[in-house]
Symmetry: C2
Subunit: 159 residues, 2 copies
DNA sequence: CTAGGTCCTAAACCTAACTTTAGCTCAAGA
DNA sequence: TCTTGAGCTAAAGTTAGGTTTAGGACCTAG
């Protein structure tokens, strides 16, 4: 059971459904920042339950951990985030989401004019060459619709 | 320059913008099936330019290679695919796409009622628990919105 | 006070989707 | 003919996002 002095990693795992190893990994990626108790064990804030849940949700939308770290930067690390803090981050998040949906829809609509007709004439094809096909050198997995994991999403709220 | 006896891997790479190594990898994954000339070099059909382009496009939409292999099964391997072949595959492809967009939109709409209000009350949250959060055990990368790469997409056209 | 469950770290392993490297053969132009 | 580029194979490396394992340390109920 969690004491007033923060919650344990096991309890956090239980509450979020995440594996303990995943939470430790998220810490290594700078997504949560627990402190340590006298014995060297991690202690988390209760608010981290919500924080981790946000991470899981954002992942379902296909955002990478560095991107999510960007979103979370607009949450206060020190004090417990308020309703307003969450509302603000949500708005930022939503605009990225809208953009992603729009891209997908645009691509889908091109599909009808391009492969759909059976032509697939490459140099003119909008699907084949949607704005930025130059990028993507080097190794590693390919990323959905141009989102590179190293680009952290800007928080872009009031300075 | 390509002869009547099929095109080389280098030429195919040049025409599609793919790396030679990527094309060889796709062959290993069963996405193209070149034959060999007397000297043991790969020879491709000209139609494979289009086939590889389709692969690239489908990847931009976030489909995995096994899924794409599933789509391509409805193309004839032997003869050169016709306009109708491409139109048919496109229709199949489009329905998966529509489904994916719909999921994203549904999730986005839940966002407003859930994180947006600042509550993020976990057990009741539709975002936190969208239908199938049970799955996803074991290692490896996480996949976008429940699509597992090992499930090959059914061709589901006339038997 | 001790047994067992938690927790710790570091390192190795895993997958998808490729690239790089090493060492060799094939092909084509000067 | 010779040399240089293109191809070939097999094996190892890479990245993201974790999990598994090994070998200890902590801590809490009985």
């Amino acid at each position: 059971m969690p004491q007033s002095a923060g919650i344990s990693i096991g309890y956090l795992a239980e509450r979020t459904g995440l594996a303990v190893s995943a939470i430790r990994y998220y810490e290594a990626q700078g997504l949560v920042e627990p402190w340590r108790n006298a014995g060297g064990q991690r202690r988390f804030q209760r608010a981290d339950i919500r924080r981790l849940s946000f991470i899981m949700i954002a992942q379902q939308f296909g955002f990478s951990l560095p991107q999510i770290r960007g979103f979370l930067k607009s949450l206060p690390g020190s004090r417990t985030p308020t309703k307003d803090d969450w509302a603000r981050i949500s708005e930022n998040f939503r605009s990225h989401l809208d953009q992603r949906i729009e891209t997908l829809v645009k691509l889908r609509d091109n599909l009808d004019g391009c492969i759909g007709c059976g032509c697939l004439s490459l140099p003119n094809c909008k699907l084949y060459n949607p704005e930025d096909r130059a990028a993507q050198k080097g190794q590693g997995p390919r990323y959905l619709m141009g989102d590179r994991p190293e680009t952290e999403m800007a928080a872009e709220n009031d300075p």
